[in-house]
Amino acid sequence: MTRDLIIGMAGSGGDGIVSAGESLISACAAEGYHAIMTKSFGSQIRGGESSCRVRLAIDPVLNPGGAIDVAVALNWEDFLKFGAELPVSGKTVVIYEERTAVAPDKLPLVGVTPSEVFAVPIGELARKTAGTDKAKNTVVLGLLAGWFGIGQEAIVAGFRKKFAKKGTELLEANERAFQAGIDYTLEHPLSTPRRMERPPTPGQKLLTDGNDMCAAAAIFAGCKFFGGYPITPSTEVMQFLSREIWKYGGTVLQAEDEIAGIGAALGASFAGRKAMTATSGPGMSLKGEIMGLATIAELPLVIVNVQRGGPSTGMPTKSEQADLYQAAFSAHGDVVRPVLAPTCVADTFATTVEAFNLAEEYQTPVIVLSDQEIAQRKEVVDPIDTSRFRLVERRRPTASELEHYVRFRATDSGVSPISQPGMKQGNYLGAGIEHNEHGDPTASGNVHARMNEKRFKKLEPLRRREDLFTIEGARESPLALISWGSSAGVCREALRLAKERGLRVKLLVPTLLYPINEDIYKSFFTSVEGGLVVEQSHQGQLYRLLRMYVDLPAGLRSFARSGANPFRPAEIVDTLRNLSLSLQRRVQDKLQPQE
């Protein structure tokens, strides 16, 4: 029985390939499988080619995976456009439209011989049973359900929901097309059966993507204001909130530009409400000045950056992790602000809630560095127990503190009680200009130095937040992986794979990327001789950032490449293996003179 299956499908815009993928992952969620679905499109707004990958498994799915087990090509031209995203191997079952008139032994896959090949009259079955070519994707679902044993009932239940409002005629047509697919598989069985094992616990799963999860987390955290501007691939955060936040007494402002979006959010925070903005690379560049204002005015604010390929317009629909430097350093003046990164859709909830907590606790802007991969992939998520989350509210002045209120009062922690308009006796001047404890503008070097010290000091408790780091694998391992964001999921699977191959490896995943917690890294490195910092950027930004703050083990390398070239677990393990051999040679060299 199969426990882990990766399906890759491609077709032209009207073929409904992505819609089939969505039906499939919904059925997976209903059946109790873990699953991830990623989509990829050509650059056209409508039409053009589209593809999707669905990976379903009994165990948690940590990343979209490598080579596909099942390839579905509605036409070869479109399929080949996604060559790198849908790699076919010798283990792949290839299913394609017979009408393409390509012979099964002459597939346009250079140098690859798939394990089984089926030329299926997909369009013909659709027309015969549903009377339209549009049901091709439903026939494909029948083929997948039949050959790989993915819940037929769940898929049909999905149709019922989907077509409920469109009339019984359409529903019945789709049911017939689906059955035609299944019947085809009964007449043409796989030579090596690959049916999925049944999940142990059916039902009660969540299905969503990182952007919706981020927005839901904001509502849970008590966010009452969102200001933003549409930008790929973060827009869904605003879209979700524009549907939901009103229900919680909140407001969404689609601003005239990125600056107004963050400006309004900062205004809402000044007025005492939890507030957020979300954007992607170019928008982040525009928001820089107001992020600095939030730092010096000591106002809580959550800024979500869904990273995409850059610089400039770069590659708006592709994932990259090259905005870490920007998150950490894009400010004039001495600035430190927390930067957090989620590692998967599920983790986006906890990370976003944490961002609100840090912002409120320390009266600071906090950046959530998501990435396109997490933000736009659909993931089956186990239910999250929200009662285990503590929510932080900003420290407001007490009645006695209001008697002689001093907004930026020097305290042991560096955090000063914060009032808000409407609060009697709490009046103060918030400002981007340097100010004394009372908020009065100053040009005094002494006051400036004290205020800088205050703004840094209040973040000191972050040094004790070991819970913002995950360490997996054997504690005393000489080999290490460090990774963040969506790449961390690949490394988690690489860790599993390395163990199977007899490599002793441990993995550190920081949720808190900046400020760098030197102690955590130092203690992690005590057993480490070599390893890889895995991230999707040309420069290897986390690796270099770590070099700035921590003494790294001599054998720790950067394993980085530009976005839109996702890592595969196997290549990470292969690289670790080579690294381990080279470290062994170094040990040998040391041993020889003693002999």
């Binding site: 919904s26 209903a30 039902g203 799963k205 969540l206 299905l207 969503t208 999860m213 839901a216 509502i219 849970f220 008590g222 009452k224 204001f225 200001g227 009103w246 229900k247 919680y248 007494g249 909140g250 407001t251 402002l253 601003a255 005239e256 600056i259 107004a260 400006g263 309004a264 959010a265 900062l266 205004g267 809402a268 925070s269 000044f270 007025a271 409400r273 507030a275 000045e289 107001i290 204002l293 005015a297 239910p383 999250i384 929200t386 009662s387 808000q420 308009p421 409407g422 009697k424 006796q425 709490g426 009046n427 103060y428 001047l429 918030g430 400002a431 981007g432 200009i433 009065d440 503008p441």
Partner: protein, 292 residues
Amino acid sequence: MQATAPVCAPKDFKSELKPIWCPGCGDYGVVQAIYRALANVGRPPHEIAFVSGIGCSSRIPGYTTAYGFNSVHGRALPIAQGIKLANPDLLVLAAGGDGDGFSIGGGHVPHTVRRNPDITYIVMDNQIYGLTKGQLSPTSPKGLKTVTSAYGSLENPVNPLMYMLSYGAPFVAQGTPADLPGLAAMIEEAIRYPGFAFVNVQSPCVTYGEEEQQIKAHKAHMKPLADLAHDPSDLLKAFDLSQAYGTELYTGVLYRNPAPPPTFEALARARQAELMPHALPRERILDLFLQE
């Protein structure tokens, strides 16, 4: 919310900070007019949020006892809207110079107007950049020689009054500190107007400004609209008068929409009231993603 008798006197709105403005700066008159207007409106300082950008005039919130926010260059309006939407009960003022409002922040003006938040926006228009010592501003007349236009500016000035009328602002007025009681009354009326209200104040820069834009010249040449029997509900006439910006100094309310349109925050509140009964409990928000 509106008191019948003033609960505060003008002095209650004056902070202890000493202005950085040059002696004789028009902004002294503007801040005095604001003290008087606020005293008459009757809201206590802690219920007022006063936002500004950057420039000489943007220091103004600090000279009041209201909650002030002296933000960054050009962004007073977005920040003020965030405040108003977050807490519609507050009295929200925004202020700044002509550079702040019509150059670096110019893109925010039409969008603020079309949303119509109940915010009063006071621009201290001196046709020059004072804080950075005498450069060309967006309202500087064509041909003006400054340190950045050594041979005279090649650009036409923007016309703040016509801009605001064209964008659809429901309240547009112009004043000068040369007529302090008139300015105070105009600001009070703007604050009381239930919607976005714009007051352009010809506030002279004594250090870098032109001779004909000083208080003395204003006193000699200003034309109160009241004397012209202008009907502020007449939009076309207001447009007509606004064309004289830069040549004639009309003071008073140019336009006042007699049927104030609903404010953004009122519409937002209505939407919240309509949708709040449909909310899942916050701790169950993830049920939206449940697959059964």
